[in-house]
Subunit: 351 residues, 2 copies
């Protein structure tokens, strides 16, 4: 079995052109996808991992569960609107939520650099507890490792999470249908710009705060309403742009979005202009898109607007019947632009 | 609720005497315990985490599950008898097994240092796959992060795992009873010395290989036999000595072990003598102790000896009725020695 696994690596993937791992391989873009799809998934090769969703859906003794993990290496550890602890809880809560699971239990693995201040560790752990309380999850198991100075960067946190799936929907890119509306729960780009500003010491007229937030409650409302959700995706590394491209490629259809519908805060927009960044590819930590049958789309938007995490929810586009697997954006000018996936993240280590 | 959490930190724990995290805080000894019990557990404060077992036991929709996590930062990544990938799978498989769970699903979170060679990554991932196949578990979800040079050390791997508990035993230090036999499944000290030798370039007459192995199959045989297992613990960071002390302190009884029963390979013993290390505190990755009612002890030893992971299983001691919470060792000389827990690990970063 292993031999066949090894030989499956011999396919001429672009990965083979790199000898070493580069920052972009962790950036949520095409290079990361090549690493994961070109090496890691083929080597493990099982039907659950092959689904390539943010959460694995598993069944144990009749209970249908979602299981996911993420490591957090954000730099700096504290930024406007959040910190690594809050991020580590919300990120995993959100990955579970995107499969429609109700998150229940989290684990935490800390890799701490020698010399890290206890007072900062205490703040981060407290922040995790607060975030867990807000999301209604329990952190039930953990691990602590310490590495020598300059073998880490303060602290890295891994969280894994388990949620329970009580609905019978199959919420995955493969369920996306022509005609589906694409809905987003708010403006984009806050998290990446907030982290970037803190890291580079940039100052704007008002502070741009991360959108870091748990999405399990807004998702529960959507599911409880009986709406047939086809797909959900949180817009983290790689941003809205990369998520759309990934879904288009897996679903097999063309996605069409409208620039004028996509909300971007003025400060975020100004920051992007100064820094030469495209807000479409900037990471968010409390934003997601949902693919919903057109006749339920308005209902879904209203449900989202009635939740704190979705006050400015809006339809940004639709799924076309064309099987071209591309994402096109109708710009405000009227022109059409093809949205591609970047190689890596414009801003590394934002989560 | 948070206020009470904060105030719970004001207790005068020894932790407060440190301003910064030291290597020993990750070493599996008393300082790590102080960090976890003095800060992390009080801040999260829930009944499952408060159990302080290696795995959390959780119930979802009637299914009784074990959930655990560990990060692996071993240095070097490859050592005689194993590598970080095999360790990351077996370590989490074993943590689940110690609660009597049958391990089913794992997650993997990779934190990779920029510049890490793809070829080495491929070897490690392949090793994880092999270990997963051997243990009969599936790796179903993962995450990859990349950090800049000198912000990591090649690769760190976190695994979390889920197992199912099908028995009705309560396998935990609190179940230990006076009269219980303490059984170990083999000799001690191999893993720590194997890693240490690789790291420091030490050479011995024959190569000392790590005992790294999955323990789920031997544990399944014990459970299936109907023996009333009271407690199990794998002897990783801190070794046999620290595990015994931890169990004595939680169980509330005195544990008595006999030096002559504890097997130590001659090469391991020689290495310990040269390096000034005590084999009792050296980490193992395929050794565990089981607390079994005396009348089932011989049966348990025989079951273990019939499994590859327990060929030289032996009773090393018993639980006394004395409520002194100490561990005493009857030495070969006839003298008695009190076994205490070290502050940290004698050899950092061995897992």
């Amino acid at each position: 079995m292993i031999d066949s696994v090894e030989s499956s690596l011999k396919c001429p993937l672009p990965l083979r052109t790199y000898q070493r791992v580069m920052m972009a391989h962790g950036g949520g873009g095409r290079m990361m996808r090549e690493l994961i799809e070109g090496m890691i998934i083929p080597l493990f090769d099982n039907s659950i991992l092959n689904e390539k969703d943010d959460s694995a859906v598993i069944e144990i003794n009749g209970a249908k569960l979602a299981f996911t993990t993420d490591s957090y290496v954000v730099n700096p550890l504290f930024f406007p609107g959040g910190d690594i602890g809050e991020l580590a809880v919300n990120g995993t809560v959100n990955d579970l939520s995107m499969s429609g699971a109700a998150p229940l239990f989290l684990s935490a693995g800390f890799i701490i650099e020698e010399g890290f201040e206890f007072e900062i560790l205490r703040k981060i752990v407290l922040s995790m507890r607060r975030a867990a309380d807000t999301a209604g999850v329990q952190l039930v198991t953990g691990d602590t490792k310490v590495v020598e100075r300059s073998r880490g960067d303060g602290i890295y946190i891994n969280t894994a999470g388990i949620g329970v799936i009580k609905h019978s929907l199959k919420i995955t890119p493969g369920s996306v249908q022509p005609g589906d509306a694409i809905i987003i729960n708010g403006d984009i780009g806050r998290h990446g710009i907030a982290v970037m500003s803190a890291r580079e010491g940039l100052e704007f007229e008002t502070t741009i705060e991360s959108d870091c937030a748990p999405l399990n409650k807004i998702v529960k409302k959507l599911i409880d309403s009986g709406i047939e959700i086809h797909c959900m995706r949180d817009l983290t590394r790689g941003g809205l742009g990369s998520s759309l491209v990934e879904i288009a490629e897996t679903a097999g259809f063309r996605l069409e979005i409208e620039e004028h519908s996509i909300l971007i805060d003025e400060q975020v927009s100004a920051a992007c202009e100064i820094l030469g960044l495209d807000p479409l590819y900037i990471a968010n930590e409390g934003r997601f898109i949902a693919f919903i049958p057109l006749n339920d789309a308005e209902k879904a938007v209203n449900i989202m607007r009635n939740d704190d995490s979705g006050r400015s929810a809006v339809i940004i586009g639709r799924v076309s019947g064309e099987k071209t697997k591309i994402v096109s954006q109708k710009c405000i000018s009227g022109a059409h632009r093809i949205i591609d996936m970047p190689s890596g993240e414009q801003l590394p280590r934002i989560c």
